[in-house]
Symmetry: C2
Subunit: 351 residues, 2 copies
Amino acid sequence: METMVMSNKQVIFRDYVTGFLSESDLLINSTTVNLKVPAGSMTALVKNLYLSCDPYMRNRMRKPDPSSPATAMSFVPGKPISGFGVSKVMDSGHPDYKEGDLLWGAVGWEEYSVITPIPNLHFKIHHTDVPLSHYTGLLGMPGMTAYAGFYEICSPKKGETVFVSAASGAVGQLVGQFAKLMGCYVVGSAGSKEKVVDLLKNKFGFDDAFNYKEENDLNAALKRCFPVGIDIYFENVGGKMLDAVILNMRPHGRIAACGMISQYNLQVPEAVYNLWLITYKRIRIQGFNTIDYLHKYSEFLEFVLPYIRQGKITYVEDVADGLESAPAALVGLFRGKNVGKQLVVVSRDLD
Amino acid sequence: METMVMSNKQVIFRDYVTGFLSESDLLINSTTVNLKVPAGSMTALVKNLYLSCDPYMRNRMRKPDPSSPATAMSFVPGKPISGFGVSKVMDSGHPDYKEGDLLWGAVGWEEYSVITPIPNLHFKIHHTDVPLSHYTGLLGMPGMTAYAGFYEICSPKKGETVFVSAASGAVGQLVGQFAKLMGCYVVGSAGSKEKVVDLLKNKFGFDDAFNYKEENDLNAALKRCFPVGIDIYFENVGGKMLDAVILNMRPHGRIAACGMISQYNLQVPEAVYNLWLITYKRIRIQGFNTIDYLHKYSEFLEFVLPYIRQGKITYVEDVADGLESAPAALVGLFRGKNVGKQLVVVSRDLD
C-alpha cells in the first residue's frame, strides 16, 4: 500500500461538558495521517479548508443519555470533534469522489480527515464563482436551515410580520433577507449595537432591530417593534425570548424552532411560562432539523445563487484563522462574540 | 307589545377572579324576563335545559387585558355568566328559529335567555334519539373539539401511540375512543382510581391509564406506559405534564394544545423547561380553538351518530341538578371532582 504520511493537527474533545463550554474543554493535538487511502476502500482522504462553528455542536458535548435525542451523536472524549466543513479530496477509493473534488459536509476538526462519503451528507461543490467559505454558511447547512425553516416551516405570506432572534448569525441573517424578499415586515434581535445597526438595519435591510442585552423588558421591546403583533417567529435562542414572543404572537402565528442557543450551556434550561396562551392564539410551534431537508439542496442552490450573483442576498462571515483559533471561535459563539457566521480557516491553500 | 313575565334565576358573576375560583365568586339571583320577544327583533327567547361546564370559562373570569387573548371575552361583573347549553325556543322574532326548536349553543347561565341566534354559534338539534344532554358534550362543543383536535391537528395514523390527559373529561374520553377506533395504542391520565379503572380502562377501552395524583414522577409514569415513546399527545392540562410529555415524545411527534386546565387558576403559570428538545425531536405543538372548526359540525354529526347508535362510542356525564348547583359544579371541574363530562340540568321539562 502506497503511503504518504503527513502531520495532522486536531481539535480534541477532552471530556463531556457540564455548564458553560470553555476553551480548556478542547485541546489542540498533533498526530499523523496517511494521505493515501487503500484502493477500493470507499473512503476519501480530504484536506480541510474551512470549518463551520455551529450551536448544535454544544449538545454533542453532553454525556450520552439514551433518553435524550440531543446526545444521540455525542463526541467521543479523546477524539477530535466533528462538524460541517469545506474540504478538498486528496485521494479517494470511492468511484464518485475524485482527487481534486471540492466538498462540503461532515468532517473532523483537523487538517486532514478520512471520510466515507455519504449522499446528502457530503456535497460536491460545483459553483466556485462565490467564495468557498460560503459553503460553511450561506451555501451550506445554515443556508439550507434558513431556506427549509422559513419557506417550509413558517408558511410565510407577503405583508406578514416576522421576528428573527440571533438575527445576525449564520441562519438569522438569511431568514431576515428571505423574509424581506417576500415582502414581510422584519425585525431582528442581536447582542450588540454593532450587530443591530451595522448589520441588521444597514446591511441586511431589516425594518427594525434591537439589542436584547439593552432591553430590560423583552415584552416591551417586542411591543414597540410589533405594535400589531408577530405572525412568524424564527426561533434561534429559546428561554426568556420565547416566553416574551408568545405574549406578542398574533392569532394563527407560527414559530419555527430552529434552535435554542441560549439553553445549550445551562444545566437547568430556562423556564417558559406563557405556553398556555398558544391555545387561544392558535399558535403552531414546529421543531425541525435540517437533516430532514438536505435532499432539497440542489433546489436551494437554484433558488439562492441568482440572488447572490445579483447582490440581492449578502452574507457576513466572522473568520478565525488557523485550527489553533478554533476552540476560541467555537466558545465565542455562545458568548455572542461572532459578528456574522463564525467559521475557521484551516487552510487557504487549494493545492 | 305582548308580555308574559316570568321569574328568571341567574348565576351572577360577582367580580374578576384572581387565584382559584370559588363558589362565592358566583351568586344565584332572581330577576324577571318577558317570554315574548318583539316581532321582527331577530332575537329569540329560549328556555335553558342543560348547561355545559367548560374549563375555558375560568379564563373569561380574568380581568380584561388588551394584551391577553384569553380575556377578550371576559364576563361582566354583576351580570350572568354564559357558556354553551341546550335550550328550547319559546318565542322568536328570527325567521329561521321557531317556537319549539331545540338548540345548542351560546346562552346565559339562567333559566331563560334572550339570544340573537348566529349560525355556527346556535345549532338546531335535529336528532333526538340520543339524550338531549349529549348536546352539551359528545354532540356539542366538546365533541367538535375532540373531532377537530384529533383528526385535523394530530394527523393520526393507525398503530401510533397516543397519550390523552384529563382523559375521562368531556373531550378526553372522546379523543381516546376516536384513537382506539383508528387502531392506535392509547393511554390516558386522570385524577382518581375510579376514573382510571372504571372509566378509562373498563368503559372506554384505553390500553393503559394512570392516576397522575399517585405518580411522584410523571416522566417515569409515561416511560412505563410508553416504552417506545409518544407519537401524539392530546394536551388538556399543561404545566408539569407537558414538560414530562416532551421528554417522552418520539421524533416527528405532534401535540394538540386543546387546553391547559391546570394553569387557569394559577397567578403564575407553571414553568416548562424541556421545550428546547422539540428541535431535536421535530415536534409540532399546535394550539387550536374549536370556534375555527364549527363549520364542520354537520360533517362531525354524520361521522359520530352511527358510532353512538351502534354503541361503539359511549359517553359519561356528571349531572348536577338545578341552577343552584351550577357554581359548585363549575368550581368542581378545576378540582377534578367531575366524573365524566360535567353539566347542569336547569330543567327537564320540555314544555
